[in-house]
């Protein structure tokens, strides 16, 4: 958009520009960038007292994050997020397909049905899952009537995965739907007419064409899942801690802010890496289709 002939040069209306640009920019600087910059600086510091932190330029906090315990937690978090994304894809793809080809009315209703839990408070949704899964919860009580269980459903890795899928599913269904909705249907019809089955059409036509949208969906599911705090905290057990829980502990109980800051920034860098990766893939595809 920038550089198009119709935009105004900022010098031509300094007053309105200063107001429209200046106020939000100042806000962003003061209440977003400065706080992050302090955390960044702390990640190179060391605690010298109960509340004093000396920024010494040390890399020891980052060195600590590469010990086996923390590498394990990073690996586990990435594993949880990846598993969640794959499950959401598998569960969400058929739903997006149905929404795409539904009648107008059914489409609106289905989209609303998928969106409504997303508007519901995250804590309430997590609490609702707790009530389902605990050993005296609804699922185990029902199983008990059948003479099964009680199964250990809560406070373990299974509960965390289930919770992450439950919470993040709408994030993936919506971009998947908008990607599928843009497809040229005549291509699908042609593929089916020429004798390809449904599976083959989906594999060889739908997925390659909708790939940019699918990747966007994967990204916006993976990133929040990776940084999840509440789900592993409430649904997880002692060994289903994710990065965010470890960060929280450093800032509250353990009171080791420099180390927590280093962990926070590694999580940030991981996030940016994912975004950059998606950007590179998207650009490469654009180039390939232009050539």
């Amino acid at each position: 958009m920038s550089g198009s002939g119709t935009t105004q040069r900022w010098q031509d209306a300094r007053g309105p520009f200063a107001l429209l640009f200046g106020v939000p920019a100042l806000w962003l600087l003061l209440f977003f960038l400065v706080p992050l910059a302090i955390v960044w600086a702390y990640s190179f510091g060391r605690s010298t007292g109960l509340t004093d932190i000396a920024i010494t330029g040390t890399l020891s906090n980052y060195a600590r994050t590469s010990s086996a315990v923390y590498l394990g937690i990073f690996a586990k978090s990435i594993g949880f997020a990846a598993l969640t994304t794959v499950l959401c894809l598998v569960i969400g793809f058929p739903i997006a397909l149905v929404i795409t080809f539904a009648s107008e009315r059914a489409k609106t209703l289905l989209l609303l049905a998928i969106m409504l839990p997303f508007w519901t408070n995250l804590l309430i949704r997590t609490y609702a899952l707790m009530a389902m899964l605990r050993s005296e919860g609804y699922v185990n009580t029902s199983l008990g009537w059948l003479g099964i269980g009680p199964l250990p459903l809560l406070h373990n890795n299974f509960a965390v995965t289930l919770g992450l899928v439950y919470v993040n599913l709408p994030f993936l269904v919506l971009p998947l739907y908008s990607a599928l909705d843009r497809l040229d249907r005549s291509l699908l019809e042609a593929s089916l007419d020429l004798g390809a089955g449904h599976w083959r059409t989906i594999r060889e036509i739908v997925i390659p064409l909708a790939l940019p949208g699918i990747l966007t969906g994967v990204l916006i599911t993976f990133i929040p899942a990776l940084g999840s705090y509440l789900t592993p905290d409430l649904l997880g057990g002692p060994n289903s801690q994710m990065i965010a829980n470890v960060i929280e502990r450093q800032f509250k109980r353990a009171n080791d802010w420099p180390f927590g800051s280093a962990l926070s920034f590694i999580l940030m860098y991981l996030t940016f890496l994912c975004i950059a990766g998606q950007g590179i893939i998207a650009r490469r595809r654009e180039k390939a289709s232009a050539a």
Partner: protein, 280 residues
């Protein structure tokens, strides 16, 4: 019965296995919430076996002073945060739409940053900021004591508003604004009489999103809030940690009802705006 059209090759919406799948997933999404609502009306405190209908738990919620305070705090924070987010978000959108200036792509990226930064990172940065740089006095009268939380909420909400409004402005005919100025309208007249009416649906959608984001936030508030300021999610979190009780069910049901009402109102208003645009 009306004869149905034969199924077309792309009629995935009418394929039985796919329909079954959608049904199952909807059960997965809604069963926990439905149970939560249903058991908020259950007499038994043990919360599993249905023993009879009661609204006592709602009475308990309304008698629980802490919970009500937390609820009022949450609504106040959401309202204040929405108001400022709308103004800041609209300013960003108009600045990006109207002007070209150096480092514009960098600024655009910067504005989107609060959306992608993990909540936990933003939470700890706010904790550090409000404990070391700008210690928020704890003895301020209500609602000033909520200031730090409101500021944190604005920082993560207004970029969403900016994106929504920006998308809407892309469809605006710049000549309308220029025409208004040619006809003698000043900057402010042109802005409020021409640009704002065009942005209205996006402003409503943005306000709704900002309000929900604020009401929904737990992590960032958890880190920003002092020991004496409690919001609804923070309060529910402390209750949930101990046990699953019908009182929490009732409080959650009330908040869900509020969210559903807000969503419906938002959709209605947006629907009306779309209809008006169609007629105009």
């Amino acid at each position: 019965m009306r004869a149905r059209e034969p199924k077309g090759p792309l009629d995935y919406a009418r394929s039985t296995p796919l329909r079954l799948w959608v049904g199952l997933v909807l059960v997965f999404l809604y069963a926990p919430l439905a149970c939560l609502v249903a058991f908020s009306f259950n007499e038994s405190k043990r919360n599993i076996v249905w023993t009879g209908f009661t609204t006592d738990w709602y009475g308990k919620v309304f008698d629980d002073g802490d919970l009500i305070t937390a609820f009022v705090n949450s609504l106040t924070i959401a309202a204040l945060s929405t108001l400022v987010s709308l103004v800041l978000g609209a300013m960003v959108a108009v600045a990006l739409w109207r002007f070209r200036f150096p480092f514009k792509p960098a600024f655009e990226g910067l504005v989107a940053l609060p959306i992608v930064v993990p909540e936990i990172c933003m939470g700890v940065s706010m904790l550090v900021f409000f404990s070391r740089i700008l210690p928020w006095p704890t003895d301020l009268p209500w609602p000033l004591d909520l200031g730090s939380i409101v500021i944190a909420h604005i920082s993560f909400s207004f970029p969403f508003v900016a994106i929504i409004v920006r998308a809407r402005l892309a469809s605006f005919n710049r000549e309308l604004e220029e025409g208004a100025k040619d006809l003698g309208a000043g900057e402010f007249r042109a802005f409020f009489d021409v640009l704002v009416p065009h942005m209205r649906p996006a402003l409503i959608a943005g306000a709704l999103l900002a309000f929900t984001l604020s009401l929904d936030d737990f992590v960032i508030t958890f880190f920003t809030a002092g020991p004496d300021t409690v919001t609804f999610p923070v309060k529910v979190y402390s209750m949930v940690r101990f046990s699953v009780t019908p009182e929490v069910n009732a409080a959650s049901t009330l908040l869900m009802a509020l969210t559903v009402v807000l969503t419906i109102i938002g959709l209605r208003i947006q629907g009306r705006d779309v209809a008006e645009m169609g007629n105009g």
